[in-house]
């Protein structure tokens, strides 16, 4: 039987918290940026002219149909060679993760917008409202209710996806784990701790998601 020794991690807790901080920071920033990209892309995909919606579809499919790890490595190593601009690992990670999240959020937004009955648009038109206002006041609030579960789901995946930044030496939770493992020779304790930390952050998020879903749906 393996003799667990979590006390061996004691000197490294500072690093672990630091790594968790980086993970959360990457998640928050790329989720916010991804939402902005996704909302804009989703709207233009549904309501924009074809010369806008077709290239956007291309963007979405490229990011949805290639592995995030490949995108990350490509943006970090290949893109700087092509455009001749050096990119720090941090920039490459923020950029890739935001675009990746944006491509998925765009589809969530599009699905939510398209799920709203055409009659809602017509009812707004019939009282003299213009398209933009109908979208903001009538369609989007309802679409967001439809989207909440997929949105939370995607955000949970996004937090877990940030672990891939460790491959380009960004000091997130997983990266610090590998550093600590190399120093302490305690991989079981280290990776168990890390797994527990991810869980402890994400599980409450799923509970909040359930609650929001119920509250938003209360008047349905």
């Amino acid at each position: 039987m393996y003799a667990w020794d979590f006390a061996a991690l004691k000197p490294y807790w500072g690093l672990i918290w630091q790594g968790l901080g980086v993970t959360v920071l990457y998640t928050v920033i790329t989720v916010v940026a991804g939402l902005a990209i996704g909302l804009l892309t989703g709207i233009l995909r549904t309501m924009g002219p074809r010369w806008v919606s077709i290239p956007l579809r291309g963007y979405i499919e490229v990011f949805r149909c290639t592995p995030l790890l490949v995108q990350l490595v490509w943006v970090y190593y290949a893109l700087p060679v092509l455009i001749g601009v050096d990119m720090s690992a941090t920039t490459a990670c923020f950029l890739t993760l935001s675009l990746y999240a944006g491509s998925f959020y765009a589809e969530v937004f599009r699905g939510g917008i398209e799920a709203i009955d055409r009659g809602q648009w017509e009812a707004g038109q019939a009282i003299g409202m213009r398209e933009g206002r109908i979208f903001r006041r009538i369609v989007l609030p309802q679409a967001i209710q439809v989207m909440v579960p997929s949105f939370i789901n995607q955000t949970i995946i996004q937090l877990k996806n940030t672990s891939l930044v460790s491959t380009v030496a960004v000091g997130d939770l997983l990266y610090q784990g590998s550093v600590i493992t190399a120093a302490s020779y305690r991989p079981l304790e280290v990776y168990t701790t890390i797994a527990v930390l991810y869980f402890v952050v994400l599980f409450p998020l799923t509970l909040i998601a359930d609650q929001m879903e119920q509250r938003l749906g209360a008047h349905r």
Binding site: D117, G119, Q120, E122, A123, Q125, A126, I127, G128, M129, R130, E131, R133, R137, I138, P141, Q142, Q145, H219, R220
Partner: protein, 261 residues
């Protein structure tokens, strides 16, 4: 009815969906305060025609004049821009078959959305107007209820109040009782009857023959994209001339289990 002072004049309206020519030159003139019902089989074009009157559908050809709004359609004519459409629709209320209430807003907020957002009415003033209108349709106690808590008949009455809140010159009703359980139809018809007695100009697409005969000044029978017969309500429904209208009314009475009265 005073035909020299029309509030609405639609002339020679044509509309196709793809290869399906739904309207083939329909005309209708409605005087201020007049109530006109449009009857006909499904697919006859009556709902499409109604939707052309507030330009939810854009005619391919024809002319439309409602109040101070004038539109011409056809080759070489520019499609009306969004601002013109919005201005027209402020003055033309519409009530839909499936209510189309905003489910995320209370009954009162549904009613005041137009005045506040489109007419920039102060919220307090709009709420007062909204409560008055809800009272008028018999729903004073439902102001804070969300649509999901209302029956079909109540939803439709809120929808009528929402349209009235814009103080329209003309009200369009698109089969507003067709989606209702039979026992809820009368409460909605009572509201419409009340509006008629107040002199509201209304155009109704309906399958309620008895109601149409009773509340309307004129009834138009649409068939295959044309206005096949139009005249005083009594004449059209009690003593129809057009063979297609006679067949339609016979079918209707058979289905409804009522003999021609």
């Amino acid at each position: 009815m005073n035909q020299t002072n029309p509030i609405l004049a639609a002339k020679n309206i044509w509309k196709a969906f793809g290869t399906n020519q739904v309207l083939k030159g329909v005309s209708l003139t409605v005087a201020r305060g007049e109530v006109v019902s449009l009857i006909g089989a499904s697919g006859s074009g009556k709902s499409t025609f109604l939707r052309c009157l507030n330009l939810l559908e854009t005619p391919q050809q024809g002319e439309l004049a409602i109040g101070r709004h004038r539109f011409e359609f056809g080759k070489g004519r520019r499609a009306p821009d969004k601002a013109q459409l919005a201005l027209l629709r402020r003055d033309v209320g519409m009530v839909f078959q499936h209510f189309n209430l905003f489910p995320h807003r209370s009954a009162l907020d549904n009613v005041i959305e137009g005045p506040v957002q489109v007419k920039n009415m102060a919220k307090a003033e709009a709420k007062e107007l909204g409560r008055d209108l809800l009272a008028k349709v018999g729903l004073a106690d439902k102001a804070d209820s969300f649509p999901s808590r209302l029956s079909g008949g109540q939803k439709q009455r809120v929808a009528i109040a929402r349209a009235l809140a814009m103080k329209p010159d003309v009200m369009l009703f698109d089969e507003v009782t067709s989606a209702l359980d039979p026992e809820l139809v009368s409460e909605v018809l009572a509201v419409i009857r009340n509006l008629a007695s107040e002199g509201m100009t209304m155009i109704l697409v309906t399958h309620e023959m008895a109601f149409a005969a009773d509340v309307s000044n004129r009834v138009g029978f649409m068939s295959e994209g044309v206005m096949a017969e139009i005249g005083a309500a009594e004449d059209v429904i009690r003593t129809p001339q057009n063979p297609r209208l006679i067949a339609f009314l016979n079918r209707f009475h058979q289905q409804a289990g009522t003999g021609p009265a």
